[in-house]
Amino acid sequence: MFYTPDNLKEFDYYKNLGDPGVFPFSRGIHPAMYQGKLWTMRQYAGFGSAKETNTRFKYLLSKGQTGLSIAFDLPTQLGYDSDHPKALGEIGRCGAVVDSLADFEELFQDIPLDKISVSMTINAPALIILAMYIALAEKQNISLNKLQGTIQNDILKEYLARGNYIFPIKVSLKLCIDLIEYASLNLPKWNPISISGYHIREAGANAVQELAFTLANGITYLEEALKRNLKPALFLKGFSFFFASGNNFFEEIAKFRAARFLWANILKEGFKINDPDLIKFKFHAQTSGSALTLQQPLNNIVRVTLQALAAVFGGAQSLHTNSYNEAISLPSEEAVKLALRTQQIIAYESKITETADPLGGSYYLESLTLEMIKKVKAYLKVIQEKGGVISAYEEKYFQTEIQESAYLIQKNIEDKKEIIVGVNEFKEEEEEIFKFQKISSDLEEKQKEKLNLIKSQRDNLKIKEVLKEIKENAKDSLNLMPLILKAVKVYATIGEICGALREVFGEYALREF
């Protein structure tokens, strides 16, 4: 099987590709691509206390990482304080624990907020976390227009795939647009949303579904922002995307190129937005976590290298490379360093950064890209016919699609239609033992003590007032951010603020049976 010009009969260079940096940006969003600026090397990190995570951040920066990316623990992601019964056993496990601004102060100790870009994986309580970052910058007299970074704030994919939602879906969407509005007016260098296919893919979707569902979510956010009368010139530059880079090398590259083509065309044709700066598709990539194997873990280093290479050939703006021991734990220091070194070797030694879109024009890759575009368009049409993302979700369209795909992938592995080295072929009896990251056992107690201390030192009358104000205004407020900012500045906790909002909005509960 090979590809020839016959596979590209409909192909037109200017229509399908264009030069790098030129509409429709299939070849990349900058004319010089990595010769102009390398991708940001941004390892997602966070575990234990704010202090431990701060130490890991400094370690990564000392090894040449160029941006930060914070993982928060699950209680934080779901708006519970460390002393909430549901937080038991979960504190600091999947990320850093944050209860109040006091934790943020420790998290960013000695890190210059005006110089380093920071990405935050937080969704349901995104307004509160961004408010803490702003409050911290203000305390340090750093002008808000110097803050650079990204907040994930992609609540739709939490319902579709990741499961970290708090409120009913329409309330959540309103809060998401509050953040976009606030950031577009006050934080010019901030990306107020990172529309994420990664979690959809990791939940079991294939590459086509990942791209289609993510673009559909992106369109939904754009429509909601326009309904709020936000100006595309102000908010669209802040739209960024996030994808997985999996094992199928060429399919992944085709996906990234197709994503740029589709987004630019959708915005131009569907929304009549013509400014090239507003329709450039920027994305972060992370190598696929679910592709990592527990068996023969060192093999993961090779997998990650290939997946990272696909992201670079695909023109990523920033990249996280997974650590080889992540199928069993949070990564240890030596493993995360090796993952970062993998990116540095690609960036500095391989020379593949010397030209933009080096694979452009390949019969095979261009065919795959065209095919990807076609398949994604078909999905987008179905979603549109169902009345958009929310109604398609409510009829369980995405959930069913993702589950079917996940089951098929598993079956293919078990039937050996897909070979995973060390898992279903080339197996070894001896299981290798390797170091992994442990969470200190006294963390929960220490964090609860810290929380109590904060509560005893702050002005609790002010807390009572501001929480009351939030409850009274939550339903009718045009934008909740100013009130939330007021609350975090007096050290109201994430659990208190989310608790107040839970009282007003209620919780979303999905029953499976």
Binding site: L74, P75, Q77, L78, Y80, P85, K86, A87, L88, G89, E90, R93, C94, E158, R162, G163, N164, E202, A203, G204, S290, L292, T293, L294, Q295, A327, I328, S329, L330, Q403, A406, Y407, Q410, E414, I420, V423, N424, E431, F436, I439, L510, R511, E512, F513
Partner: protein, 134 residues
Amino acid sequence: MKKIKVLVAKAGLDGHDRGAKIIARALRDAGMEVIYTGLHQTPEMIVEAALQEDVNIVAISILSGAHMTIFPKIQELLKKNNREDILISGGGIIPKEDMQELQKKGIGRLFGPGTPTNDVIDYIKSAFKDVLYA
């Protein structure tokens, strides 16, 4: 013939249920009766569902690292209700030494990443072969 009845449960705050859903479907395809709890279940909710549905086995999926808290808590609650006969098993991102420690406490087999669904099916079938399954 009575079917083996399984409660597949997502314990704690972890939202990753790809594995739980795959296991639920594979067990169903293998002829068992399967109930999936959905996300964000506390040990109390899981045990309540297990009692109400009168299951033979509770299969917990957990990737968040909270396993050393959640498994013992479920075990304790089942004991309190005199249902120590319900087998507690599960899987997820659980280091081997933690698996061993939990198994010492009387938790059933725990499965890690890369486990073929047939291994889980065989384990459950063999655990209940005398009682239920032909």
